[in-house]
Amino acid sequence: MGFDQYHEPAHELPAKTRTFARMCASLTEEAEAIGWYEQRLAVETDADALAIMRDAQGEEFKHFSMDLEFLLRRTPLWREIARGILFQSGDIVEHGEASEARATGESESGDEDASDDRSGSLGIGGDAGSVR
């Protein structure tokens, strides 16, 4: 592939953003592969082929999860929202709205003045330091 994951000139983008974009592209590719395998599995009849493709699809899902975790570690507010959505039972949409409201400090109806649109973290992480 070329460098089409970038929508801005790559040389103008900081390294942190280029990495983030690469991981977003990787997440997309893993999700596509999961969907493709799901379709192949639906039509395949050979037992051995099915076993291999099921295994491969599981690998793609593992990669998808790792990509997602990477992105969430770099976006503290998204991470906080995701924490209220993932691995919860019940209504997914409700969890999404409630988790967003908790993380951003907004009321669920959205009528409270949101004076802060982030969790408060500066999001520096390990990408710091003056390096020569």
Partner: protein, 267 residues
């Protein structure tokens, strides 16, 4: 709203963007330790301890014939640096002022960055953090006063690590004075000392205010673990008509997993 209570501050979205941006700008270059160690997290404010995977005996079991041990953990420490911002300065920012006085924030950012570097490299006994320098089993070697001698000292440190089976690439944290000497010095033939040292290390040289001398360490990973609870964040304390009192805060622990992966060079 979380424990930082930012919504209680009389600060607009634009004001918060100004403060967060300034803090990030001031903190990022000074957080040298983070460049050279494994950063894990952030796990959130509620994360209170790092698993050490070890146990300690419990004197008496609750039941005869049943052995008992207790898990050991390293509790996270919190660092907090207070600062203030003038309400009038924030109003001027809303009017479009470009030279808003954020000197108190700048000082706080530097203080907490130095504190983090010191905890990682020189330890923080009260928080049960053993620094990289104290943990290193090697005798400390002199870096010397003259920058001409730095390549020999750094090469010696790299060779010592290699001979103990610690692979590279390697990085080096430098204190303020040592960093200044490195970047200002050209060797015979006009070659920059900085370039020479980078070639020896095969890795980065990092400005780490708070470090005494220099520390050469392996960057192979898994040797030095910074476990982050809440990453650096700005919170709100109180305000009156003239001043908003705020703070920068983080929670973390630090564990040396392979003490022999670093060599300290004294100033």
């Amino acid at each position: 709203m979380n424990h930082l209570l930012r919504q209680h501050a009389p600060i607009t979205e634009s004001g918060w963007a100004l403060l967060d941006g300034e803090a990030t700008q001031r903190l990022t270059p000074a957080l040298g330790a983070r460049r050279l160690i494994d950063f894990r997290g952030p796990h959130g404010w509620e994360h209170s301890a790092t698993n050490l995977g070890r146990t300690e005996p419990v004197a008496a079991s609750v039941q005869e014939g049943v052995a008992a041990v207790r898990r050991r953990v390293l509790t996270l420490a919190e660092l907090r640096a207070d600062f203030s911002v003038s309400v009038e300065e924030l109003r001027d920012h809303e009017r479009g002022a470009l030279d808003v006085d954020l000197s108190s924030l700048d000082d706080a950012a530097h203080r907490i960055a130095v504190a983090e570097n010191v905890a990682v490299f020189h330890g923080w006994a009260q928080a049960d953090i053993t620094g990289i320098v104290a943990a290193s089993p090697y005798e400390q070697r002199p870096l010397g006063e003259e920058p001409d001698g730095y390549p020999r000292a750094v090469a010696g440190a790299v060779e010592l690590l290699l001979s103990n089976g610690v692979g590279g690439p390697y990085g080096m944290a430098l204190g303020r004075e040592q960093y200044r000497r490195v970047v200002e010095t050209a060797e015979h033939g006009g070659h920059l000392l900085l370039d020479h040292l980078r070639k020896i290390l095969d890795g980065p040289i990092v400005w780490a205010p708070g470090v005494d001398g220099a520390v050469v360490l392996s960057l192979r990973g898994g040797d030095f673990i910074y476990d982050c609870g809440q990453d650096l964040s700005i919170g709100y304390r109180r305000h009156d008509d003239e001043v908003v009192q705020l703070y920068i805060e983080e929670s973390f622990s630090f564990v040396v997993a392979s003490a022999d992966a670093a060599v300290a060079l004294t100033a």
